[in-house]
C-alpha cells in the first residue's frame, strides 16, 4: 500500500493550522501556513533566509506565540498547552551547542532528563551515541573540544533518546562534511522507519529530495509550494525551487 494513503488514515503528529506570525515591528514572518505531518513522514521545508522556516519551528516550540492560527503536536495545541505539547517533540538546531564544560554523557544526561526520561541507563546513552556515530573515546570528553559534526551527533542522540513522536530539525546538515551529512541522512531514514514525524527546515535541496516524503517551499512567510515526493520524483527540484521562488516574486511584484 502507498505510504501516503496509509498516512491519511492516521492521526497527524505535527499540524500547522493557518499559522501566521507578525512581529512587533509589523514584519509578517509567517502568512497563513498550513500543513500536516503524519507518523513515519518527513516534511522538508525549503526556502531562503528569512522565508519563515525557523519561525515555524519556533512556533511549534512555543518560543514565540502565533498572531493567529494554531499548531499542534500529537493533537495538543502548542499555544494553549505548550508544556504538554513539548513533551511530544524533540528538537535539533542548526548549530547544536551544548554545555562546553560538560562531557557528552553529562550533556545527554541533563537534556534526556529534561525531556522527561529519568530512568535511562548509561549503557542506553552509550548505545545511542554509538548509533549516531560518535567515537567511544569521546563519550566522556568535554564538549568544548568537539567539532560541529560531533556536537550535531550529540544533539541527534538527545532527540533519539527523548523518544518523542515528533522531531523538529532546523537546518541540521548545514556545515556538516559530506560523510557526516550522509550519515545523518541514513539516520533520518531509520527514524522515519521507526514512525517519527519529522519537520526539517533546510537549504539542502538534494538531501531534501533524497529523504523527504513531502517538500514545501517557503518564501516571505508563505508556503508557496507543497508536493509529495512522488509528484516531483522526476523533476529537477533545483529548477522547481528557482521557479517557485521567482514566480512568487513576480506575483508579489
Amino acid at each position: 500500500m502507498d505510504s501516503n494513503i496509509e498516512n491519511n488514515n492516521k492521526k497527524p503528529i505535527l499540524e500547522a493550522i493557518n499559522l501566521s506570525k507578525r512581529y512587533e515591528d509589523n514584519a509578517l514572518a509567517l502568512d497563513n501556513v498550513s500543513f500536516t505531518i503524519h507518523p513515519g513522514e518527513i516534511f522538508a521545508m525549503l526556502g531562503g533566509n528569512g522565508a519563515g522556516k525557523t519561525t515555524t519551528i519556533n512556533l511549534f516550540l512555543n518560543l514565540i506565540e502565533p498572531t493567529s492560527g494554531d499548531c499542534k503536536i500529537d493533537g495538543v495545541s502548542c499555544v494553549s498547552k505548550p508544556l504538554e505539547a513539548k513533551k511530544k517533540v524533540a528538537y535539533v538546531s542548526e548549530n547544536v551547542m551544548l554545555y562546553p564544560d560538560f562531557t557528552a554523557m553529562q550533556n545527554l544526561d541533563f537534556f534526556i532528563k529534561l525531556g522527561g526520561r529519568m530512568n535511562l541507563s548509561k549503557d542506553e546513552y552509550k548505545s545511542v551515541l554509538k548509533r549516531v556515530g560518535l567515537q567511544e573515546d569521546a563519550f566522556n570528553k568535554k564538549l568544548k573540544g568537539f567539532s560541529k559534526g560531533m556536537r550535531q551527533k550529540c544533539g541527534i542522540a538527545i532527540s533519539i533518546l527523548k523518544d518523542a513522536p515528533a522531531i523538529l530539525l532546523d537546518e541540521p546538515t548545514s556545515g556538516l562534511d559530506p560523510k557526516a551529512g550522509a550519515e545523518f541522512v541514513n539516520l533520518l531514514k531509520e527514524l522515519k522507519k521507526e514512525g517519527k514525524a519529522i519537520l526539517m527546515s533546510t537549504h539542502d535541496i538534494f538531501r531534501a529530495k533524497d529523504v523527504a516524503d513531502t517538500i514545501g517551499i517557503m518564501n516571505k512567510g508563505q508556503l508557496v509550494m507543497k508536493k509529495k515526493q512522488s509528484e516531483i520524483h522526476n523533476e529537477d527540484l533545483e529548477q522547481l525551487y528557482i521557479k517557485y521562488m521567482a514566480g512568487y516574486m513576480e506575483n508579489a511584484a
Binding site: 514565540i64 513539548k86 513533551k87 528538537y91 551547542m97 554545555y99 522527561g116 544533539g155 527523548k162
Partner: protein
Amino acid sequence: MFKVMLKKEILQIISSNKFAISFAVCSILILLTFFVGANSYLLSRDQYEAAVQENIRGMDGITDWRMINHRIFLPPQPLAALVNGISNDIGRNINMEGMGELRAHDSKYNEDPIYAAFRFLDLNFIFQIILSLFAVLLLYNAINGEKELGTLRLTFSNSVSRSQYILSKIVGSFSAIIIPLLIPIAIGFILLPLMGVPMTSTDWISLLGIIFSGVLYFSVFLTLSIFISASTAKSSTSFLVLLIVWIASVIVIPRASILISGRLVDVPSVDEINSKKSHYMRQISGETLSAMGNFKPTSNNDIMREFNEFMDEINTERDEKVTKFNSQVNQERRNAQMEQEKLALNLSRVSPASSFYLISSSFAGTSMELEKNYHEQAKAYQKVFADFQREKEGMTTGGGMMFIVRKAGVEENPIDPSELPEFVFKPPSLESRINSALPDLGILFVYNFIFFLVGYVKFLKFDLR
C-alpha cells in the same frame, strides 16, 4: 524537573575554570583572613597586657596617688581582627586624670602608617570586594550567555516552564557558589579556638551574623547579575553594565555620599573647636590667677595643705566651667557631625556595600559607635578615678596648679597599685549589635527581593529565540 535543572546549574558552575580559579582565590583569602586575624588579635592582646603591666610598673615607688601617670587602654576584641571597622583608626590609649578632657591617642594606623596606606585583609574586604566581584564574574551571562550558547533554545524545546528555569538558576547559582565557600569559612571558625582566640558566645553569634549578612550581600549581587543578564541581549553588554554598577556601588557611592553630606552639612573643624577652647581656657586661667590672690591662710602650720584645699576648690569650680564650655562646643560639633554622619549613611545606603559594611562592623563591635562607647566608658571611669584620688589624697589631678608637700623626716609608704580601680571596657551587648545591624539587614533583604522579583519578571518576557 526543577531538581534536574538545579543539579545542572550547580554542575555547570562548579565544573567551569572560572569557578575553580575564583574559589581557590577566595578560599585562600578567607583562610588567610582568619589566620592573620587570629595572629593579629593574639599579638594585640599581648601588647595590651604588656601596656597594662607597664602602667602598673610605672607606679612602683610612688607614694602619692596624685603623682601617678595613669593610662587606660582599649583592649583588643577578637572580632575586630576579623572585621576591622574603625578599630585601627581610633586612639587606644588615654592619659587618665581626675579632671579635664580625655583624649585617646596611638591608633594602630598611627603607629604603623603602612597599614593605613594598604589596610588589613579582613572579612569585610573579602565579602565587600572579592565575593561581590566573584558573583558578577560568574553570573553576568547567566541568562543571555545560555541564549548565545544555544542551550536556552534546546532547554525550552522541552517541557520546562520559565518559572522553574529562573528559580533553578537563582537557587542553583547561590548553592553552587556559597556552599563551597562555607568550607573555608568553617575551617576559619575552627582555627580561632585552635589558635587560642577566646571567643565568647556573643562573639560566635556575632561572627555568624557577619557571615549571614555577607551571604545576604553576596546574594544581592547574584540576583542583580541574573536580573541584568535577563535584561540584556548580549553577555558583553551585561558584563559592562554590571561592572559599572559594581564600581558605583562598592567604590563611588560610599565615598560620594560622604563628600555630598560634607558639602550639605557644615561641621566645625577640630582646629576651630580647639581654638575656641584655648581662648576660653586663657580667659578662665586669668580668673583663676586673680582668685589665687584671695588665698588667706588661717594658720602658719599647715599652709600648703590649706593652699591645696583652696586650689582644689578653685580647680573644681574652674573644671566645672571648662567642662561645661568644652562639652557645649563639643556637643555643637558632635550634633553637626551626627547630622552629617546620618546624611552620609543614609545616602550611602543606596549602595548594598555600605549596608554590608555597617552590618558587619556593628556585629564586630567596630562600628563608628566604638569610639563613642570607649570615650563614654573612659569618661565614667574618670569619675571613679577622681573619687578614688580624692579619697586617697583629698584632691584629684588634672585641674591645674597643685603643690605636693612632703614632711621632712616622715617616710611615706608607697602606694599599692592593686587598689587602683580597674578600667574594664565593655563591648556592646549582642542585643545592641543586632539592633544596630537590623535596619541594614532589612535593606539587604529588600535589595534581594527587588532584584529577584525584577529578574524573575524580566525572564518571563525574555526572548528565548
